[in-house]
């Protein structure tokens, strides 16, 4: 993995300083600024593997051209054909690099189960980093142009920057063209609060990745790599809790830093995580977790399927299809599909209760915080349902999931469970308290509106934790594998 790509590396920050310097020197000419960012973005991506720059460029050229062709014609059939061509290309590229091996292996296993030897080709295909993110981003562009929600841009290089913008290229957020493209196409006014907002995001993002995620990783690896029969129930629970915070710290941390860096460049990227473990229901969870993906799936899959407008059964069908494909988006493995299935299931199961709650309870006048007993119970239940999902997500196989679940019968509280549990509490509790406060305030940026000394203390805490408590090993960003 090219080290430039890693936000927690010296190399990235030297790279960013150079880019920022050139970008600032070009501030009188935003076209020149865009050129600087485009070159930097391609250099950023090429640092991982220069051969896949051509794939990024191909995806850009195809969707730019097809969008313009869609806009140029009023013929409905032709427009649809061009849109399908765009989607087939994007999904074809994604399908080949990400799913070819999975489907051929699964097909071969199925044939073997029926006693038929299959001779499908076996290919070892390197997954281009970020491919799931930028293909979805370009698809949303052509779909929005088709829907006439957005004019197709005539500026190829600006469009190329929209696709390849380095802060969000490899792990999101999956930006909508209606939001990011105008920022690319027009001068970005210097907002004095950009520095403060960027700093806030970068510091907290690095804290989430370096302190939380990377310190949870050894606990997760220890639990999930051991022989399951040697684990006690509390140890399995600790492993799952650790993974819940590893994946959150890893992914939310990366996107926070991406948003912070973009903010310093004058760009506003969408919020991707909003205190997800304070969700009180599955639908609430998906309004808080990987918001850019969940909203993409909602707008381009769930709603076109009919959403909740065609009766209960079809609503359930649409929810399941959306969540299954959402699971598959994460990776070519049955565990990801099972994870998606699980989330679809709980969305369906919760749906009657949410509808009942919406019709029988008055809208609260005062926002209730997370520590109100009834809400706290809902949050705890939802957190543990999410953790069950994470068990599917992290496990090596569905068999391992089942074996680990069976270990819950062994209630032995081992020294490892106590020690690892205390480590999780040490690293994670301050973050949860902070996010509980944000939840109470109903504002993800509440810290920016507090007194400077409160902000200084929080920043000081983050810096000291980054200083003294980075993990001893080196851990990749989990979402790079998607």
């Amino acid at each position: 993995m090219g080290v430039w790509v890693l936000f927690n590396s010296y190399t990235f920050w030297i790279f960013f300083l150079l880019v920022f310097a050139l970008y600032s020197l070009s501030r009188r000419n935003f076209r020149l600024q865009n050129a600087v960012l485009l070159v930097a973005s391609y250099a950023f991506y090429g640092a991982w593997d220069w051969r896949f720059l051509s794939l990024l460029l191909l995806s850009t050229v195809i969707d730019f051209s097809l969008a313009r062709a869609i806009e140029a014609t009023e013929n409905a059939r032709r427009r649809k054909t061009l849109l399908l061509a765009s989607m087939c290309t994007s999904l074809g590229i994604l399908g080949f690099f990400k799913y070819f091996g999975f489907f051929t292996e699964s097909f071969a296993e199925l044939m073997n189960a029926f006693g038929v030897q299959s001779s499908l080709p076996v290919l070892t295909i390197l997954l281009p980093v970020g491919i799931s993110f930028y293909t979805f981003q370009t698809m949303s562009y052509t779909i929005d142009v088709y829907r006439r929600e957005l004019p197709a841009t005539k500026k190829f290089f600006d469009f190329a920057l929209f696709v390849s913008f380095f802060p969000q290229l490899v792990a999101g957020p999956i930006e909508r063209a209606s939001k990011l493209l105008p920022q690319v196409l027009h001068p970005r006014p210097q907002n004095r609060s950009n520095f403060a907002e960027g700093l806030h995001l970068v510091l907290l993002g690095l804290f989430k990745k370096v302190v939380i995620a990377d310190n949870m990783a050894p606990i997760v690896n220890s639990v999930f790599s051991r022989d399951v029969s040697s684990l006690s129930g509390p140890e399995v629970l600790i492993g799952v809790y650790a993974f819940a915070f590893q994946i959150y710290g890893d992914f939310a941390g990366y996107t926070d830093v991406a948003r912070g860096v973009a903010k310093w460049l004058g760009f506003d990227l969408m919020l991707n995580f909003r205190m997800p473990y304070f969700a009180a229901s599955p639908s609430d969870f998906w309004a808080r977790w990987h918001i850019s993906l969940s909203s993409w799936l909602r707008d381009y899959l769930y709603i076109p399927l009919g959403g909740n407008r065609r009766g209960t059964l079809l609503t359930y069908r649409n929810l399941m299809i959306t969540m299954l494909l959402g699971g598959l988006w994460h990776g070519a493995a049955w565990t990801f599909i099972a994870w998606g299935f699980f989330h679809g299931l709980i969305l369906c199961l919760y749906r009657p209760f949410e509808k009942l709650s919406a019709t029988t309870q008055p809208r609260p006048v005062v926002r209730s915080g997370p520590f109100v007993p009834g809400r706290l119970l809902s949050i705890l239940i939802m957190f543990h349902l999410t953790c069950i999902g994470w068990l599917f997500f992290r496990a090596e196989s569905v068999t391992q999931v089942w074996e680990m679940v069976q270990r819950f019968g062994n209630l032995q509280l081992t020294p490892f469970a106590l020690g690892a549990g205390a480590l999780i509490a040490f690293y994670v509790l301050p973050l949860l308290l902070y996010e509980g406060w944000l939840e109470r305030r109903g504002d993800v940026a509440a810290l920016l509106k507090t007194h400077w000394w409160a902000r200084g203390l929080v920043y000081g805490y983050c810096i000291l934790m980054l200083w003294f408590f980075p993990a001893l090993g080196h851990y990749e960003f989990i979402y790079f594998q998607f």
């Binding site: 010296y10 907002e197 690896n221 509106k449 000394w453 203390l457 000291l464």
Partner: protein
């Protein structure tokens, strides 16, 4: 987001407060540094150890190693055992330098940093090693920080960066450790604080480290085993004036001695004593896989004395010490 109440001055104050906290911790760390651990206080004492040895009477014998030396060489046993072999204690002055977890990279810079003047060099230097301590292994972060903080000066930076710390990550860690004591000692602080706060911390960390050792990519060995640092070390030491003896120490699990290593030592005029297998040292003589128990140290020190005695007698009684 439009922060209508945003004040740049307030933001600077917040940053200043955060940095002030860091600087306060740094000041505290510099004050606490000698008391941070036995190992740190020993490392800080190395210049005095070397100076005492240089001023002492008799033959100057320096032991250079790591924690296996600290645990394995019992001077209360070694000196009488040498005396039994005919090496009088009054004829010998001994210094021990043994930073924990150190290897040839550390020893190279310890030697360069402390033995600049010819007259400061020991007469006999015994370098205790095991497994890959003498090989060119990619430096781990703790080692980089140790070398930066204790074993090199600012003038060494060009050499260090061109020969040993060649990646940006290594150089960044080196520079931060050079400037900030708190950064250089971050692992020690981490372990100390967590050991105070986390129940069963050592057991838990051991379990986590075992998984890491199996599955995690640690600083990797170069594909081909090389000894360039050992060669630099030997060229640094004037082997005409200093008798250098390498001692392969016992571990619970035996290890192979590379023929190339033997060849290099022979070509460079250094001696090799293989004490991997010492009668009386069994697997029970080890606290862990590496370090001897006090009882094991007694057995080892006697065996070491027996092997060292001929070299020391040759130095002491067969020729006049150089420069005296």
């Amino acid at each position: 987001m439009n922060l209508s109440t945003f004040s740049f001055r307030a933001e600077l104050k917040a940053i200043a407060l955060a940095l002030a906290l860091l600087l306060a911790v740094e000041a505290g760390m510099r004050w606490l540094e000698p008391h941070l651990s036995v190992d740190v206080s020993h490392i800080q004492e190395i210049p005095q150890i070397v100076d005492r040895l240089a001023r002492a009477q008799g033959e100057h014998l320096l032991f250079l190693g790591n924690s296996t030396t600290r645990r394995g060489v019992d001077m209360d046993v070694l000196e009488p055992a040498l005396a039994e072999q005919g090496v009088a204690a009054d004829d010998l002055s001994v210094g021990l330098v043994h930073p924990d977890a150190s290897d040839i990279l550390d020893w190279l810079y310890v030697y360069q940093h402390n033995f600049g003047a010819f007259t400061a060099q020991p007469d006999v230097m015994v370098v205790s090693f095991a497994t890959d301590n003498l090989q060119d292994v990619s430096p781990n972060p703790q080692q980089i920080r140790r070398v930066a903080r204790h074993h090199t000066s600012v003038q060494d930076i060009p050499k260090v960066f061109s020969q040993d710390f060649t990646t940006l990550s290594q150089r960044g860690d080196y520079l931060f450790s050079k400037v900030f004591a708190s950064f250089a000692h971050r692992e020690r602080v981490r372990v100390r604080l967590l050991a105070m706060m986390i129940p069963y911390y050592k057991q838990t960390e051991q379990g986590l480290n075992e998984t890491q050792l199996v599955s995690q990519t640690l600083p990797t060995k170069t594909p081909q085993i090389r000894y360039t640092r050992l060669e630099r070390f030997l060229s640094e030491v004037d082997t005409a004036a200093v008798r250098v003896i390498f001692v392969a120490m016992p571990l619970r699990d035996p290890y192979q001695l590379d023929p190339e290593l033997r060849g290099i030592l022979e070509r460079q005029g250094a001696e090799l004593i293989n004490l991997q297998s010492v009668p009386g040292i069994t697997p029970d003589a080890f606290l862990d896989g590496l370090h001897l128990t006090p009882e094991g140290a007694v057995v080892y020190s006697r065996a070491l004395a027996q092997k060292l005695a001929p070299f020391l007698k040759l130095e002491l009684y067969s020729e006049l010490p150089s420069g005296r």
